[in-house]
Amino acid sequence: MKATVLVRPKQGILDPQGQAVESALGHLGFAVRDARVGRVVDLEVEASDPAAARAEVERMCEQLLANPLVESYEISLDG
């Protein structure tokens, strides 16, 4: 089963990358605010059903893919 994990800096955590992107978009003439830059992890997980797959990916997030102190994560499953 395919899973996509979206990892973001938590609200309130300084995100200088997001600020740099926001400023660069401003230079291009786009009026944007609150740009935040995260990370996407695509993976294929062996699991019998979506609930089991989600639980497995959640454990991956807690143990490795995200640092819970400074990052939040969202999991989506496909197929």
């Binding site: 800096p9 300084l14 200088p16 990358q17 740099a20 490795l64 640092n67 102190l69 400074v70």
Partner: protein
């Protein structure tokens, strides 16, 4: 009775850079510096362990996130849980945070630029095994060289765990925190590099205040066990 040379291990991960400088500095400060390979599942007989700076595993995912899964880190965690002295410098600090042996996390510098220069630090605590040779409020000058040294502390980090603060803007660290200890004060991490500042020829010898404190503490531990 002759004062024994404490045995201090320095772990080399794939991508460590400062392991040799750390071995050299510890030996110059009269410790027996012992190289330790990251793939070892057990530590040799040691009185302290140092995780040096560098870019372990290419800093992939997050700095220190992969290195903390190295076989040797289980042994380092057990050593720390047993009260053993563990010091992490720069990438070593990042690894200790990722491993949960120290509170907090290190993220990209506020400036998004790599910072490489001597900085002033203020010693906040002298009652730790890593700063016992310092005076209260002493200013130390040591180099930093990092792109991801912005320290994010947990919400309720006790003040007594903050050991070093920057005396000038460096990387956007919350409360200017440059170095912390764990609750039991036997594990410390700092972003500046004491091993690059142990000889006036290198611009500063202030790093020796930290490393010689560690050597003293490791020696006391060796004598207590002997």
């Amino acid at each position: 009775m002759a004062s024994p040379q404490p045995r201090i291990g320095v772990v080399t991960f794939p991508g460590s850079l400062d392991d040799r400088d750390m071995l050299w500095a510890l030996a110059a400060l009269d410790a027996e510096a012992v190289p330790v390979w990251h793939a070892e599942e057990q530590l040799p007989d040691l009185d302290a362990v140092v995780l040096p700076g560098g870019f372990s595993y290419g800093d992939y995912l997050r700095c220190g996130a992969i290195a903390r899964l190295s076989p040797v880190m289980n042994a380092v965690a057990a050593f720390a849980a047993d009260g053993g002295l563990v010091l992490g410098v720069c990438n070593g600090f990042q690894i200790l945070c990722e491993a949960g042996l120290l509170p907090g996390a290190l993220r990209a510098n506020e400036s998004l630029t790599y910072v490489c220069r001597d900085v002033r630090l203020t010693v906040e605590r002298t009652d730790t095994p890593f700063t016992a040779r310092c005076g209260p409020g002493q200013t130390l000058v040591m180099p930093v060289k990092h792109g991801e040294g912005c320290y994010i502390r947990p919400d309720h980090l006790p003040q007594e765990q903050v050991v070093l603060r920057y005396g000038e803007p460096v990387n956007g660290s919350v409360d200017d925190i440059a170095g912390v200890v764990n609750e039991h004060r036997n594990v410390m991490g700092l972003m500046p590099h004491p091993e690059h500042a142990v000889d006036p020829l290198l611009g500063s010898a202030d790093g020796a205040f930290v490393l010689a404190s560690l050597v003293d503490s490791a020696r006391s531990r060796a004598l207590a066990i002997a």
